[in-house]
Symmetry: C2
């Protein structure tokens, strides 16, 4: 399933010339006015399309989202704002919908003005290309991604669909993360915003360091109510969370050069917030990430990361496990466990469990390994 699975949504994508060959322009269209909600980067440097869409989302109603890849339209000054606005107004005109109901997103290199002549002629050709090819649309918003990300789920008479892009070391600070969701459930903009916040906190905000966001990060959801009836908000929230979690996991799996997926669980922390902070600190440690790449259970690196996470912890109360093998108990190596832990570390999916032995706080964060390919990719990628 993908973003066009819910009733009343269409997409179009094409190559307008920002990238050398691949599709670089994508339109998401709701056949009727839809409730809209959005979450945007907390980076102080916000790209013009982010600032533009953040304003428009406040209106609560949207008909379309116009997205380009290959150029982030970030750090582009006054021209960048003018270009973002023009993308919206041209799309509105082409679709014959109110300009205020069109949102804009961009991803790609920073600091280069959009080639607006190409974008303009591309937008004019989009409406006639509208259809149900959500897979192709998901590909059109990618940049360094190794594969497009789509997901969907049905619940009762309703459907949630979505697409995402992002591959930058899985932290949204490392590259743009875009996430677009659709549903045919009927819901007010206010309720939709609340549901989106929960879904993103449990998905994309569990693969990233809080506040560590790029200039262009953005998650949008459109709900057009085409399936009618009355939806239970908690069921909708759960469905949005399911789809967002699948997309977030795909982004981690696509971490630039990633060869292993790592699930870091922290339990027994003083609070959930401290557990999340500790899990993030482990997930962000270069020594932990390179250790995962090497496939050795060098548990000292995990313990050292927990020790500098800024949360309550005591070495003597801390236990660690790799792939379910308890390798450290009360701060000390459990002899005879190295081989089993090493074998767990050499799987495609690696579980690192940390128990602080202090309270009931718990959290889970997904990350990936750090390897030579990441350095190669980012040593030359112009972004």
């Amino acid at each position: 399933m993908n973003i066009t699975a819910p009733r009343g949504f269409q997409v179009a994508s094409l190559h307008c010339g920002i990238k050398p060959e691949k599709d670089d322009l994508m339109l998401l269209f709701s056949q009727t006015p839809a409730s809209v909600a959005g979450l945007f980067t907390t980076n102080k440097v916000k790209a013009p399309p982010v600032r533009y869409s953040r304003e428009k989302v406040k209106g609560g109603i949207a008909r379309a989202v116009i997205v380009n890849s290959g150029n982030a339209n970030a750090c582009t000054g006054a021209q960048g704002f003018q270009d973002a606005r023009e993308m919206a107004s041209l799309t509105a005109e082409a679709l014959k919908v109110p300009e205020a109901q069109v949102l804009v997103a961009s991803t790609g290199v920073i600091g280069h003005p959009l080639p607006m002549d190409k974008v303009r002629s591309g937008i004019l050709r989009l409406p006639e290309a509208l259809g149900k090819d959500g897979a192709r649309a998901a590909l059109a918003i990618t940049t360094t991604d190794a594969f497009p990300k789509t997901a969907g789920v049905r619940f009762g008479p309703y459907t949630v669909g979505g697409m995402a892009k992002g591959a930058g070391m899985i932290h949204p600070n490392m590259a743009t993360t875009l996430c677009f969701l659709t549903t045919d459930a009927p819901v007010s903009p206010l309720d939709l915003q609340q549901a989106l916040r929960t879904a993103i906190d449990l998905s994309f905000n569990s693969i990233s360091v809080d506040g560590d966001t790029s200039t262009n990060d953005c998650a949008l959801v459109l709900a057009n109510g085409a399936a009618g009836g009355k939806v239970d908000l908690s069921e909708l929230t759960e469905a949005l969370t399911t789809v967002a979690s699948s997309l977030a996991r795909q982004v981690v799996q696509d971490g630039e050069g990633a060869t292993r997926l790592v699930e870091i669980t922290v339990e027994g922390a003083a609070s959930d917030a401290e557990a999340k902070q500790a899990a993030y600190c482990v997930a962000s440690s270069l020594l932990v990430k390179t250790m995962v790449h090497g496939g050795e259970p060098n548990w000292g690196r995990v313990l050292a990361a927990l020790g500098r996470a800024g949360v309550e912890m005591e070495e003597e109360r801390t236990s660690l496990s790799f792939g379910g093998v308890t390798i450290v108990q009360q701060g000390v190596f459990v002899s005879g466990t190295w081989e089993a832990a090493a074998s767990a570390m050499q799987q495609k999916e690696v579980q690192i469990g940390c128990h602080l032995g202090l309270g009931e706080g718990r959290a889970r964060v997904l990350t990936c390994d750090l390897n030579e390919a990441y350095v190669r990719l980012n040593g030359s990628y112009l972004s």
Copy 2:
């Protein structure tokens, strides 16, 4: 000059068998009781030698420091404490000095008990090896270092000497940083502690993220007053800062796999503290570090790092320069500067200047590039 340059200090080093071949045991000895001061890791996980020496430094007087490399004696439980204490007591006995005046430091792999039989027989052989070979002693405390670090400076009748080890991506959280300083100036333990704090803040604490420390980080200074007279504390502080800064710079140059040294300057911040926070954020960004490796002036990555640094900043007020070439002014690319900035980025030493245009706050942080060699080294190094 090195750690034996000041009068009245001797060193000895030898191979006791912790490492396969290289020297792995080092003794620093003051021929008379010396004032001592120390700074230790803020990591909640502190290795036994760190806890031991932190207590002993409070006595204010020291005669010797015994150091082993190849094994950090960290996360080693009760046995680890016993071993750290035994290293001190054996050294005290061999040198015929009070046990409370011997400090201990260890660096190397985490989580393995020290091979105490080898350490014991090594310590017994150290006193007869005492001499002035500070260069060899500096080599004996290294682990993944590509080269030993020594420095020294004379001021008036006095001398400061020192050695350091560390190469772990230059952040003390990435590997142990050890720094030992000596001087023949006469100074009280209290004044010495204050001077050391200033010297380390301006050197080792300007190459690391605050609080991002390893289990074993430690800086010690011994002042034996052998040159007599009365020293000006600010002159001593300046001399200690000079030596510590040289050592810290050598640690950055030795960043695991580093090919370029990067000096990040932030000016115009709301305060010095915010400037330091912003400079650290840029220095820690994987995208900035890989950009430096690639040698391209992808200034958007620097701007995005500043935007998520958690400090006051406005894109429209921010200027950036690479090697003195102003590539961004008021948040926008200055056309025609790319080639010159690119050429500046391809030097061995790269300057990244950030001006936030807000206040008088300024800071400087040293870092290095991130490249494939780092990943290779840390993917397999057992620590």
